[in-house]
């Protein structure tokens, strides 16, 4: 797709997860902390590709780094993920919840109506 505008990898959490490969990495790091080598082995991607996406995830603080001896380990950071989860579920939660209330309300109206009959 030469010439197509690339989605910028800005310092925004939502843009960071808009890239499918970064979501794959995050999914891995939600389960356990891993090194770049672990990720390369698990995903069968090249090391530069893994490092490039890790860098973006680190920039937006979705991923934290721990140094153990000579090794760097990465793990997902739950607090930075919370707003994402909130927004992912906004539609289902907000409107799903509202429709639940609508259902109760309609049932209330009906039972009040039935009581009058």
């Amino acid at each position: 797709m030469a010439g197509m505008a690339r989605i910028s990898t800005t310092s925004d959490v939502f843009s960071a997860i808009a890239e499918p490969k970064r979501r794959v990495i995050l999914e891995k790091l939600l389960v356990e902390q891993m090194s770049v080598t672990d990720l390369v082995d698990a995903l069968q991607w090249t090391q530069p590709m893994v490092s490039k996406h890790l860098k973006v995830l680190k920039e937006v603080k979705l991923v934290a780094e721990t140094k153990v001896g000579r090794f760097h380990y990465y793990r997902a950071q739950p607090d930075e993920l919370r707003p994402i989860q909130d927004w992912i579920h906004r539609f289902e939660k907000y409107w799903g919840g509202a429709l639940e209330n609508l259902d109760s309300y309609l049932t209330d109206i009906k039972s009040r109506g039935d009581a009058r009959e």
Binding site: A5, I7, S8, D12, V13, F14, S15, I17, A18, E19, P20, R23, V24, L26, E27, L30, V31, A76, P78, D79, L81, R82, P83, I84, Q85, W87, I88, F91, E92, K93, Y94, W95, G96, G97, A98, L99, N101, L102, D103, S104, Y105, L106, T107, I109, K110
Partner: protein, 168 residues
């Protein structure tokens, strides 16, 4: 901005009530105040409502913890009793739409299209479609990424994320 066809997010729900009543529950304030909030324990109060084609409304929802939010709604189609189309925004008490600093690429214009279908005299099916309107490339990518959809968006990771956050 572009011609990309956006696949909407959909909720389908059936109600034991006639179609006209379900529709009016969405368009009459005396009904709306009783149910239009995301969970029990909230208070809903419409301070203005001009619910017709091209009209707007402004309401406030007070959460059980006292947090108050304002929502401004633009109605595009109010077609009794079968179709309702609106755009809803977080706003201030004056109805000014607020930007969302935490998520600059979340689609600004989220369009809700509701279809009311009569299944029986007292049974109504509501299909609620939610999709970004005229999204930028970045907005579209973020919307697609937000789906709990195994092919396009955040798939199995969503369950892990939920479990992780619940445990945290």
């Amino acid at each position: 901005m572009n011609d990309t066809t956006v696949e909407p997010s959909v909720i389908v729900r059936e109600f034991d009530a006639p179609r006209e009543l379900v529709f009016e529950a969405w368009t009459q304030v005396e009904h709306l105040n009783n149910w239009m909030f995301p969970m029990q324990g909230c208070q809903c109060n419409f301070v203005s409502a001009d619910i017709r084609d091209g009209g707007t409304s402004l309401h406030t929802i007070t959460m059980p913890n006292g947090h108050q939010m304002w929502l401004f709604t633009k109605y595009e189609e109010v077609d009794f009793p079968e179709k309702l189309v609106f755009l809803q925004y977080m706003s201030n008490e004056a109805g000014d739409i607020l930007p969302n600093p935490h998520m600059p690429d979340w689609p600004r214009d989220m369009l809700a299209s509701l279809y009311f279908e009569s299944l029986a005299e007292n049974r109504t099916k509501l299909t609620f479609n939610w999709q970004p309107r005229n999204p930028t490339v970045a907005e579209l990518a973020v919307f697609e990424a937000s789906r709990a959809d195994h092919h396009k968006g955040w798939g199995a990771g969503m369950d892990q994320l939920e479990a992780y956050l619940a445990a945290g």
